[in-house]
Symmetry: C3
Subunit: 230 residues, 3 copies
């Protein structure tokens, strides 16, 4: 079901059982898999590839217990040229995927997130709201990128890393802050990052480390709690 | 394809390519996304919202190696009033989602699980069979909630926490028991909970901690293995 | 949409909104759920069950930043007799699922992977490329199985375990090697395995352990970094 108000470029391939809602824009040479759902207002640049059973442009929702309420006037999802998106993924409104980004299967990106040029968001990665991801960043399979986080250019995050943004675990009523990972830092697999810590430029966090305080630029930290070894 | 035996309330919105099998009951003012599959016998209360590409009421299956065999006469999935369910999720038969529950995208809940009023089961959370979750519980993104576990009211579980229920890792032939988390306890992100441990009321488990024995009420535990610091 | 070139066995059940592309072979007594996508060339043996909203036979893709480029001539996905596959899963071309394998919901298996007879790949498990999994292996929910890994027969891997294959985290230009897990070893939940380590036969890795070097056969290792306790 392609809505009449959809603006379709040249040479667009659309799979079976695809739903494209109102006011969607699709550029040239776009490939859309089977059973894909593209929600209203989504903007898709030329050369984009979208895997089967993926949802683009989801609105937010919530329940009584949630601190963050759904927002009514989120801007659309914008997918720039030559982005590749996997299968069975869910990407929200008010996300910007810059040129050449890769998003793996079974992943999800919440609203108010920007992913910089040529960055990789691996399979089964969950990105929360209000987070900035730089250019040429690699986020490997199964990572959890919390809300209110900042990841600078050329950062590498190994598989299954976890982060958090709330020191008081739901008890407090103040500002949340996720970790800040500076340029070119590298994080090993299954590392745990606490709220608001800063990982310095070129720093290295070992696999399985638990990072409870800032890591100076260029240093290597391992263990639980993390301690500097180099 | 909506089967003839489906009982539909007033003002139900049904997306494209939706499959609703035999003997489903759907209350008033329900919103069902695109490409959703609702399996037979499912009961959906008024005001429920179901995201795109989600499956409700799945039956169990297994293979030769699995200890738990599929059960033939599981009662239906019951979704109470004002529940919100995300996209690309899989919820089994014999689950009860109480009024106001929120279930995120890409999550799955196995059979014989009850989730209490207003609780949150975040994105990409996996809940195993035979587990009880209380009221106003928050289970954040990417958590793994093992089988045979008990989570009391007002518990907070941070992102990516992991739990287990089998001390002998598939070698034994005895009863399994998951962790028991008492009222109002808080668990930091990426913590690891061993089988059958009890986390006391108001206790706090630090991010990345590995909990190998019971945590007394009100105490704070960090590290690997976890030790009491307050 | 079932393509004309599809060869269908006897007594095949096909759900609603299913897409079966060119040159697919489906054996007798196969059950295919709703909204399933079966990509071209896939071979499905007798008695196979496929859950709703699952994708079989995906081709690889990549972006500029990725080291591994998509391969053009991958052989087809082969699913042997009596395999059971869950819902919302994504399985690539050039995967071999041997007789009796079970693959859970929301999981994904990349190309060049073989899963041996009667093994279990749990819900939300991600398996990377070029990995061998033996017979009667159990990989529990939420595990991350890296690329270039070898898992021998009768291994048990608890929930949420993580592994990696690249010591230099994207910096180097040499061969990658994932962990090697020998026969009958057991890994506790949320353990972290570093690149190229060998877990010996009958060894036990504790829950939450971080394994930075080889574990001798029959030994038990816990902690961060892992140390032998028995």
């Amino acid at each position: 079901m392609v809505n009449k108000s959809v603006r379709l470029g040249n040479n667009v391939e659309i799979g079976e059982n695809v739903v494209i809602e109102d006011n969607v824009f699709i550029g040239d040479n776009v490939v859309i898999g089977h059973n894909v759902v593209i929600k209203k207002d989504t903007i898709i640049g030329s050369g984009v590839q979208i895997g089967d059973l993926t949802i683009l442009g989801k609105s937010t929702s919530s329940n009584k217990k949630m601190a963050r309420k759904p927002e009514k006037n989120l801007s659309p999802l914008v997918i720039e040229e030559d982005v590749t998106i996997g299968c069975n993924s869910v990407i929200y409104r008010n996300v910007q995927l810059k040129r050449g980004v890769f998003v793996g299967d079974l992943s999800s990106i919440r609203e108010k997130v920007e992913v910089g040029e040529d960055s990789i968001v691996g399979r089964n990665v969950m990105v929360e709201t209000n987070t900035q991801i730089g250019q040429r960043v690699t986020i490997q399979t199964g990572c959890y990128i919390t809300a209110d986080m900042k990841i600078e250019d050329d950062v590498f995050i190994g598989p299954c890393c976890s982060s958090s943004n709330d020191k008081y675990m739901g008890m407090g009523n103040f500002e949340h802050q996720g970790p800040i990972i500076k340029k070119n830092a590298k994080i090993g697999n299954n590392a745990t990052l606490l709220p608001a810590i800063v990982i310095g430029e070129n720093a290295i966090v070992g696999a399985g480390a638990v990072i409870t305080k800032d890591v100076p630029a260029g240093k290597t930290v391992v263990g639980n709690p993390g301690r500097i070894i180099r």
